[in-house]
Symmetry: C2
Subunit: 210 residues, 2 copies
DNA sequence: GCTGCACAGTAACATTAGTTACATAGGCAT
DNA sequence: ATGCCTATGTAACTAATGTTACTGTGCAGC
């Protein structure tokens, strides 16, 4: 694991900390679609993402979903940190969006490392910052954008994280993540196709120009 | 200041830290309506709220506003923390919702105290947690609730933080904070009055039963 | 090739929210 | 009282989004 670690976190953490992570962390690989955390779960470990992408979802009391943001390489989940520190249940669902590799850190280390390693403190603060900013972005999208703009933003983000111009999702899946209905998404996608921005195929959306 | 400090933060911080805060912190009183921070400002100090309430607003590129949440006694602004740590511009606007008292901490202390005081680290983490949770609540409201439900929630929150059944706001002000139009708010408020939940008067809304 | 099923296209309609326009009313300054 | 400004009430309309219902189509398994 040490090599995987160094490659991805070597610029952030000093050797002593890398060694400690190597000691107590466990390596984990998950396939796309794997549900890594469910709402209400207690959290026992904190993930450091090495590769892939994890989508973070919020759900209301009626079971309606909403995509909050994606975690990528080098990210950790601040909401997991929250749960670790406060020992509360998870308020979100986490699902692997692509095949992903992670290092799981038992929460016991958090406090100790926070005292001992400046770089760890910085990493944790930085993570909180990133997550807060992503949440602000999400709020902006929901509050200020119309559905067609949100859809465009979603497609662009998907292309960015999957590094692939073809998105393999059904309209229904997109509708769930944006918390709207399949008909609405189909309608808007068709409009985008008419505008020449995308090309629609069964289970696939080719992004031509966004 | 030490007494004000002890009353509000004595249960959180050890004496040594309280003394340090007393040394470097400056006491500040602001009147309702005072703009404490503007979008784009650089942040040089972190506020500890002693009494009152601060509203935190987000704005889009067209100048449209949205209320994110209120800070109350014992809170600090995690988004300010963010800015302090990362030395970035503020992404939000902060306005005193009621007359408020605060202690301002120069950001230089942050790093030092994080290493030295476990209680400080906990306070900072706790603040991030609270803010993340408030943001989740905000997202829930925007994404899952209809405008009438959001308005109800807003009124309830206003009553809670001002400890007063009469809300002194114009319909236009409420409309700004919920990012909708005055006509919509007037319409919905009138409906609530018809239902016997509130009583409308010029510049004042009496909450009877929510 | 047939069948069944999940996915996508589309029309017609309902609901919610935003907009425009104008009327009315409270309250202050003169 | 008069005039003026701000706040509120309301109707009528538009736009955006959500819903229902039905059609068409690609594809896997037989």
């Amino acid at each position: 694991m040490i090599q995987e670690l160094k490659n991805n976190y070597g610029h952030l953490f000093e050797d002593a900390l890398l060694n400690e992570i190597n000691q107590v962390g466990t390596f984990k690989e998950v396939a796309a679609g794997f549900k890594m955390m469910e709402i209400g779960d207690y959290v026992k470990a904190m993930p450091l993402l090495v590769s892939g992408a994890i989508k973070i979802l919020r759900e209301d009391t009626d079971g309606d979903e909403l995509l909050l943001y994606f975690l990528e390489k080098g990210d950790t989940c601040a909401l997991t940190l929250t749960c670790c520190v406060a020992q509360t249940k998870s308020k979100i669902r986490a699902i692997a969006e692509t095949d992903s590799k992670l290092i799981m850190i038992p929460i016991q280390q958090m406090e100790e490392w926070s005292e001992k390693y400046k770089s760890w403190r910085h990493f944790v603060f930085e993570s909180y910052n990133n997550r807060l900013n992503e949440m602000l972005e999400t709020i902006d999208s929901i509050a200020f954008l119309k559905m067609d703009e949100r859809l465009l933003k979603y497609l662009a983000e998907k292309v960015r994280i999957s590094k692939n111009n073809t998105i393999h999702k059904t309209h229904q899946e997109i509708a769930y993540e944006l918390h709207t209905s399949r008909v609405v998404i189909s309608r808007l996608l068709k409009k985008l196709e008419t505008l020449g921005k995308i090309e629609l195929n069964r289970n696939a959306i080719l992004i031509k120009d966004i």
